[in-house]
């Protein structure tokens, strides 16, 4: 079922008794127009429609880290969206463009984390345990070690690797999200795959996952 957002003038006439056609999820044109004209509803609609994508991309690229406030990063991403939505020519490309800003926010965060760690002499390899019950301990260990490896990868390779293998983007989406050519994204992904695989090969838990899958055949 399509989600419904209020029409641009619904706030002025909330109870007129008139049935109005409301913009649906397909109306990105209306959303962009609403943002351009400073309509109050548009900002809320923008957030509600795209924030789950933004949060998911940030979370999956960055992993869990005690010093990162994810709400802060989601907020930062939308602030950047607001700051630059005038550049959007094709409203249909809004989702890809927002995802691209989210990926870039994650990239900047990885870079700034590294500077921060260096400045604070903080031990970078200590990925906190994921505090949740109900997850198979082996899976949890694989998760923790995967982010340990990702933490040692160059930021741009980490981003492209996670978007491909965790987020499940195809090469075209990857190129669009990373704002690079298809050939560049292929090269970058190949480097990331090689780097991750070599490191995983040296890790006793991930090696099993990559050679035999998470489980041995029963």
């Amino acid at each position: 079922m399509p989600r419904v957002t209020p029409s641009p003038d619904s706030e002025q006439a909330p109870s007129s008794g008139v049935v109005r056609t409301l913009p649906t999820v397909r109306d990105e044109e209306a959303l962009v127009a609403g943002l351009r004209s400073g309509q109050a509803w548009a900002r809320g609609a923008l957030f509600d429609r795209y924030a789950p994508d933004v949060e998911r991309i940030l979370r999956r690229i960055l992993g869990y880290e005690a010093h990162t406030d994810m709400a802060d990063l989601v907020h930062d991403t939308f602030v950047q969206v607001l700051a630059s939505f005038q550049h959007i020519r094709d409203a249909g490309a809004l989702r890809g463009w927002i995802q691209s800003i989210a990926a870039h926010t994650a990239y900047r965060t990885i870079r700034s984390r590294r500077v921060r760690r260096w400045l604070r002499f903080w031990e970078p390899s200590q990925i906190p345990e994921v505090a949740i019950v109900g997850i198979d301990p082996d899976v949890r260990e694989a998760y923790r070690r995967t982010y340990q490896l990702l933490d040692r990868m160059p930021a741009e390779e980490r981003v492209v690797f996670v978007l491909r293998y965790v987020e499940g983007m195809d090469l075209g989406q990857l190129a669009e999200t990373c704002r690079v050519s298809l050939s560049t994204v292929k090269r970058r992904l190949a480097r990331a795959e090689g780097r991750f695989s070599r490191a995983a090969e040296r890790d006793e838990v991930l090696r099993t996952w990559l050679k035999e899958g998470g489980r041995w055949p029963t």
């Binding site: 602030v79 500077v115 604070r120 899976v139």
Partner: protein
């Protein structure tokens, strides 16, 4: 390079864990903040928040520190004096008593090393935080001053190495038998060498005897905190006795069979090592350390938490039988039910390839914790095991669907019910 299909499978698992562990308050918090922005706030390309200013200040400070460290002369290496007349010592030269009296080596930062008659020591390097010592033969008694976290002393004897950060100990090296002995008076050190490649902690009150062929550890043979009992331990403020009394080391340097007045149970001192390695995620090394002293002996004295850690160490280093031993010990000795049964099921299914045992353990888990956090997974694993037997599979599938109609194995369960 890894199979890309496997990478994708791992990626999907990571995505699932990430989604399952997401903080549900993130979006409401971000939404509230975003919608509270005023029109003027909406395009802050560069925000000079307190956080940014603090970061910039930290960066400036770090740069300053780097420049200072580069320009400023580095701290000088410590110096040392030898003997009663305090002759200035030279790095690389031998220090050896010429008569029946021991010889002191006093370092400028307060540490003292006493070389017993017949012994020969070489100070191979000095730096601002300590020195490297090499026992060529004989016995030394040392008190190393702890001046902070940076204190770094290293003692070598043949193929053995002792890392010291501030402690009091006696050490002896016999090059003929290639036997190294260490008696700890205060503090702790890490010893590494041929039989202990991963390193081994030796703490106050313990005595280690190790050669290329043999290793033995004893507890209670040295006073834990005092140098007064039978050990000549120099301190920075006292004058060393002229004759060195017998140290806690064995009477004969050639002997590796010391009087076993108070032999320690195998495994006691290694505990710190395998635990430390396990905490660092070095499961293979932790397993090797635990096995070096007897895995079963470790199990025999482990607490419930340690047993689970030992089981993890064994599982992750590819020793499922050892993991099973630890988990069964936890169940028998401490009645640790539930998760141990689930893990035993996993080990049986995934590593020991024993689906019958696995099914029993998953059923056990479901009996012990029917509403437990791993119940859905246990039932799902049971379903996977039983799927080759249509009758049994159908019963499990119905159980699964009744409890988890939207669960991860629901599609498999439906397909088995509809068969």
């Amino acid at each position: 390079m890894a199979d890309l299909k496997r990478l994708s499978e791992l990626g999907r698992v990571i995505a699932d864990v990430s989604d399952a562990t997401r903080d549900l308050s993130t979006l409401p918090n971000a939404r509230r903040r975003f919608l509270s922005l005023t029109t003027e706030d909406k395009a802050p390309q560069y925000r000079f928040s307190a956080k940014r200013i603090a970061l910039a200040a930290s960066f400036a400070l770090a740069c300053g520190a780097l420049i200072t460290a580069w320009v400023w002369p580095t701290s000088p290496a410590i110096s040392f004096e030898v003997g009663e007349h305090r002759s200035k010592g030279s790095v690389g030269q031998w220090v050896a008593p010429t008569n029946e009296s021991p010889l002191d080596v006093r370092f400028s930062e307060g540490s003292i090393v006493n070389v017993s008659p017949g012994g020969r020591l070489r100070i191979t390097e000095t730096h601002s935080d300590g020195a490297d010592l090499l026992i060529e033969r004989g016995t030394i008694n040392a008190h190393v001053s702890h001046k902070g976290e940076s204190t770094h002393w290293r003692l070598r004897a043949g193929p053995f190495e002792v890392r010291v950060t501030g402690t009091t100990f006696s050490a002896r090296w016999n090059p003929e038998t290639e036997t190294f002995e260490l008696a700890m008076i205060e503090g702790s050190v890490i010893v590494s060498g041929p039989r202990i490649p991963a390193g081994r902690a030796v703490v106050a009150g313990e005595q280690l005897i190790v050669s290329t062929q043999h290793m033995e550890l004893r507890a209670g043979t040295t006073p834990a905190s005092s140098a007064s009992a039978n050990v000549a331990v120099p301190t920075p403020t006292e004058v060393l006795p002229v004759a060195t009394p017998a140290v806690t080391l064995s009477p004969a340097a050639t002997s590796t069979t010391l009087p076993s007045a108070n032999p320690v149970e195998p495994g006691a001192p290694i505990e710190a090592t395998w635990k430390t390695l396990a905490r660092a995620g070095k499961h293979k090394e932790a397993m090797a350390a635990a096995e070096a002293n007897g895995f079963s002996a470790e199990i025999a004295k482990a607490s419930p938490g340690e047993l689970l850690t030992l089981a993890d160490v064994a599982r992750f280093s590819g020793k499922p039988a050892a993991a099973k031993e630890a988990l069964i010990a936890a169940r028998k000795r401490y009645k640790t039910k539930g998760a141990t049964a689930f893990l035993l099921g996993k080990i049986s299914a995934d590593q020991l390839r024993s689906p019958g045992d696995a099914a029993l353990w998953f059923e056990t888990y479901l009996k012990e914790e029917p509403g437990g956090p791993l119940a859905e997974q246990a039932l799902g694993r049971l379903l996977e095991i039983r799927k080759r037997d249509p009758g049994a599979a159908r019963i499990v599938a119905e159980r699964y669907l009744a409890r988890y109609p939207m669960g991860a194995h629901a599609a498999l369960a439906r397909s088995l019910v509809e068969k």
